[in-house]
Subunit: 293 residues, 2 copies
């Protein structure tokens, strides 16, 4: 394993045309590999529009099994291109049982591991509790040939606990496929506050744990069914180094890029500010409560 790895990310608009989306994604992965990427991260629910804007039983048809069509396509691609791919998709686990899942595919095309989204949001326009059963695989980083990947998904990004457990279990970096956007009826000031807090919380996981963070968000406006309203996905995908410093930060359009991330810098970062040495973990048990009243 090299200490420096090239991470490729793409933030994309996703249409309702399944074939177009699939071809677009495959081309992006090929382009990123050509630019030298060894690890490629795609956004949350990479191959469908963000269908959770409404609750519709027919949308469960979008789910796929693991292994299944996507792991086959990207497995072949990973093997061909010799890249590790992190793929977020709508998992059909059993009849009527679905998860929001990330699959990590190794360079040889095999499945290195998967993570099922643990924290499930639910608020107007993001009706995820209807679609996704809470993950039951816990917080376990996935070993690959490019490093140990702490893969989490979207809403998980707001929880320092999840990031910490991944780091304590040896994650070399944290990865967040995500799908977050604005309600454009909000004030400009509110839009700024929301975006800033989203960047802040994820950067803070780098800072607290001394490891890089890769966050890949979708872009573009997607309308809800039978409505003119919808979500304006804010893009702003970014990669931080082990001190939380921004190595890459996209805007609000479709973009892709490859960034070198130094996993060995964690050693230096944790020597300078040795937070792990001083954790008072015997005094943290109250964290295992809903609330303390």
């Amino acid at each position: 394993m090299n200490s420096k790895i090239k991470v490729g990310i793409a933030q994309l608009k996703i249409s309702n045309d399944k074939t177009e989306v699939e071809n677009k994604l495959i081309n992006k992965v090929k382009e990123l590999a050509k630019e030298g990427a060894e690890l490629i991260v795609l956004q949350e629910l990479h191959n469908t529009p963000y269908f959770c804007q409404t609750e519709d039983v027919n949308k469960f048809d979008l789910a796929e099994t693991i292994p299944g069509r996507s792991t086959q396509i990207y497995g072949d691609l990973a093997k061909d291109l010799e890249v590790v791919i992190v793929l977020s998709l709508f998992e059909k686990r059993a009849k009527g049982l679905y998860h929001n899942t990330a699959v990590v595919i190794e360079k040889d095309g095999t499945i290195a591991g998967k993570y099922r989204k643990m924290h499930i949001p639910d608020d107007p326009g993001f009706y995820e509790k209807f679609y996704f059963t809470e993950g039951d695989l816990g917080f376990n980083p996935i070993k690959t040939s490019v490093g140990t990947l702490g893969v989490l998904i979207c809403w998980d990004q707001w929880y320092p606990e999840a990031a910490r457990i991944m780091a304590l279990k040896g994650a070399d970096l944290l990865i967040y496929p995500t799908a977050i956007g604005w309600d454009l009826n909000d004030t400009k000031e509110e839009l700024i506050r929301q975006l800033d807090s989203w960047i802040t919380i994820q950067k803070s996981h780098s800072v607290a744990n001394g490891i890089p963070v890769v966050s890949v968000n979708r872009v573009g406006f997607e309308k809800a069914d039978n409505s003119e309203e919808g979500i304006s996905f804010w893009g702003n995908s970014f990669i931080t180094g082990s001190q939380g410093e921004l190595l890459q930060h996209f805007g609000e359009s479709e973009e892709k890029g490859v960034v070198e991330v130094d996993l060995e810098k964690t050693e230096h970062t944790r020597r300078i500010w040795p937070f792990f040495r001083d954790r008072r973990f015997e005094d943290y048990s109250e964290i295992l409560n809903r609330y303390l009243d």
Copy 2:
């Protein structure tokens, strides 16, 4: 209790002249109260230079008991001015047993509670493990007439666990008296990264918990004993609102100010992004380990 409280903060240079320092501090508190402050927060180890730059047994003479001289002075002042004061000082608990402690003084001059720094740093120039015994009071917010204060101290700011426990126990806001600065031998890029990560991690506690953060740091260059080297305390004290938005942010000089903070905004913030609803606290037990190998 009002939902909007006026928080007064001062970031100051501290000299070796004890009387001068004491008068300066008393005047600042009076000025802040005159400007309408109801809650006043002073920096870490407010009334001494940052003596931890070297290990010197004689420096234990700087410690004081609680109650003691400072709680008397600021108790009288709090009663006079009808303000709540958060005071960080070097506590002499028993013969040869010392803590880095914050005392909260109520408007009537009584001690509302105290917090003993739980996470103790130790790195070149910050030899705190020599001076301060680890706190043994746990993470308990302190109830006052202006709100429930989650008082933590400096190095604690890097630990999301500490902030979370305070929030789960009902803290209306988090307060960090702190003393952090640069080694000016570092590169300009490193200085920027360090300052940015310090702001990021504390803002993130606002974001994760939906509560304001008040962080008060010292300023000015302080030389280590018998050396031309020292620490350049970087100031940059700040106050965030419940979404992590900056309400106040000082520069690198002596400054003071009063900011209105709305404690009721937490309700709205947590409704929009209900992180507390979705915590998977039954799956966080691994956090209670030093490391998981």
